[in-house]
């Protein structure tokens, strides 16, 4: 039975994270992305086994790109989950529940940790395999963390889109746009978000992780700020915004000059 004092929201967010994470892992959109990631990893493994002198730099990019694509699919999956109430006409009945929308956004954001963990385990497997066959720089181990934070950040993008542009069409459009600026002949376009661009020195790689994490928090704060902004969200948004600017400055000055002009 109820007591009169309102309990804190932390346990609600934790319980939501577990429930949402399970549903994200079961979603067909996530599995589609995972299939692409596994395909890319398969291509990488095949080339690593087939070539006479395979190298990490030349061959591992297929795995990196495919996991980036998987992260984009997570963004769409999170977006679909966040739009569930609108899609199923359940907005009104959930407004009558005590957990505010910000708690649900936080729960879904934390739920994205599940696909982040699963894909990172696979990335870890790929890196370990590579280490048995190729000369893999030690700093490449950070790719596992990069991938997790990238998934989390793109999940937060899915949340922002669902909150501020609540149309089921927006996330696929953004996903496709991200895909079209994929690395290839002009990898500079992805420098700012793609892990491989900075996986050369420990310092830059660490800054990149911090940058992606700050972006994730910034997007999550913006996503939870509707319908009403609260002080906590403002503080998180401001702090993460500052962190984004600082880390981006370091990254641009550290990565872009040797590689030519950056798009972002």
């Amino acid at each position: 039975m109820n007591s009169s004092a309102n309990p804190p929201m932390g346990p609600v967010v934790t319980a939501l994270a577990v429930a949402e994470g399970r549903h994200l892992l079961a979603s067909r959109v996530f599995w589609s992305g995972l299939a692409i990631a596994l395909l890319g990893t398969g291509v990488f493994i095949r080339s690593a086994l087939a070539e006479e002198s395979p190298t990490w730099d030349d061959d591992a990019w297929t795995m990196g790109v495919s996991f980036f694509l998987a992260a984009i699919f997570v963004m769409v999956a999170v977006n679909r989950a966040a739009l569930r109430d609108r899609r199923e006409h359940a907005v009104e009945q959930h407004e009558a529940l005590p957990a505010p929308r910000s708690a649900r956004v936080a729960g879904l954001f934390a739920g994205a940790l599940w696909p982040a963990a699963v894909t990172s385990v696979l990335v870890g497997g790929g890196v370990l395999f590579a280490a048995t066959r190729l000369d893999v720089p030690a700093v490449s181990a950070l790719f596992v963390i990069h991938n997790a934070v990238l998934v989390l950040m793109l999940g937060a993008v899915g949340l922002v889109l669902a909150t501020w542009m609540p149309s089921p069409f927006v996330a696929p459009v953004v996903a496709f746009a991200l895909f079209l600026i994929a690395p290839g002949e002009t990898p500079a376009a992805w420098h700012v978000i793609w892990p491989f661009a900075t996986l050369e020195t420990w310092g830059l790689a660490a800054w990149h992780i911090g940058y992606l994490l700050a972006l994730a928090l910034l997007f999550a704060a913006i996503a939870s700020g509707r319908p009403d902004w609260r002080r906590g969200q403002t503080i998180v948004a401001l702090m993460s915004g500052v962190a984004v600017v600082v880390s981006l400055t370091v990254l641009i000055s550290g990565v872009c000059p040797p590689r030519g002009p950056c798009l972002l």
Partner: protein, 283 residues
């Protein structure tokens, strides 16, 4: 425990005055809400469910003011709401859906929450369907699922909008048993077009028409409104408010008596028809 206190509550949608100075209070027990389509019942329930603020008037629910964010949260923790058109997550199982709502109701202890979910699913006889996807449920089962989520955590204020529409007769009777035997005897507001349900379970009935309270009293007192105004005869009469042919071939008239007609005992339907004013209003 304080129940519901509404004073001079008004709500307007554009040119439509949905609620027009409603005064209403309710304590523990079941209050039925009757009224024609568009009378303002759903708007009233939405105000009580804290999903909508009135344009004017004051609202006090369970001793709290829903206009204040913290107090609103306190109300919502003790509130069960079954909207007229509930939404479901079709790709969740029945158990997962109710469990999800239970989390949002701040039942965070996993074991207790799952016990609670199992209990409410048992109350609405959906235990056997717990592992089925919501998309595979029949209309009546979905209705019961909506009722189950409203019953979570034994709410002190239970708002039910058309809970028995789509239920088969046995389920309707089961609903009456369930709602009349809720263990903590909450404040229940039951909006329905089923006057039999009102007569069967409500201690009190409120009739709303054109956004105003037209009647507030016991179901039997509502029936008394029509005493002396319901007749049967074997001939039609254009003067009556409404008349229809019964199964035994006689015509039942509500309103002015036709010549040679015999007075009969009224029902709540008859009284409701007279209060709502016209046959059109009772559509």
């Amino acid at each position: 425990m304080s129940g519901i206190r509404l004073t001079g509550v008004s709500k307007r949608y554009g040119r439509v005055q949905a609620l027009d100075g409603i005064d209403l209070s309710a304590e523990r027990g079941i209050t039925g809400l009757l009224g024609p389509n568009g009378a303002g019942k759903t708007t009233l329930l939405r105000v009580l469910a804290t999903v909508q603020a009135p344009d004017a008037g004051s609202v006090e629910l369970l001793g709290h003011d829903p206009a204040d964010a913290e107090q609103r949260r306190s109300i919502r923790r003790r509130l069960g709401y079954m909207p007229q058109e509930p939404g479901f997550y079709d790709n969740f199982t029945v158990f997962e859906f109710v469990d999800y709502i239970a989390i949002l109701k701040q039942l965070t202890d996993r074991r207790k929450r799952h016990d609670e979910v199992r209990e409410v699913l048992g109350l609405v006889e959906l235990t056997a369907e717990a592992r089925r996807k919501v998309r595979d449920l029949s209309g009546g089962m979905r209705r019961r699922l909506a009722l189950a989520q409203a019953l979570l955590d034994r709410p002190d204020l239970l708002l039910l909008d058309e809970p028995t529409s789509g239920l088969d007769p046995a389920q309707r009777l089961r609903f009456r048993e369930l709602v009349s035997q809720l263990p903590n005897r909450p404040v229940v507001l039951l909006s329905t077009h089923q006057t039999e349900d009102i007569a069967a379970v409500c201690e009190r009935v409120v009739v709303i028409a054109a956004g105003r309270v037209q009647f507030d009293g016991a179901p039997d007192a509502l029936r008394q409104v029509a005493v002396g105004r319901v007749w049967i005869s074997d001939r039609p009469n254009a003067q009556t408010l409404l008349s229809w042919r019964s199964g035994d071939g006689t015509l039942r008239h509500v309103g002015e008596p036709p010549s040679g007609a015999d007075l009969v005992e009224p029902t709540i339907d008859d009284a409701y028809l007279l209060l709502s004013g016209s046959s059109g209003g009772a559509s």
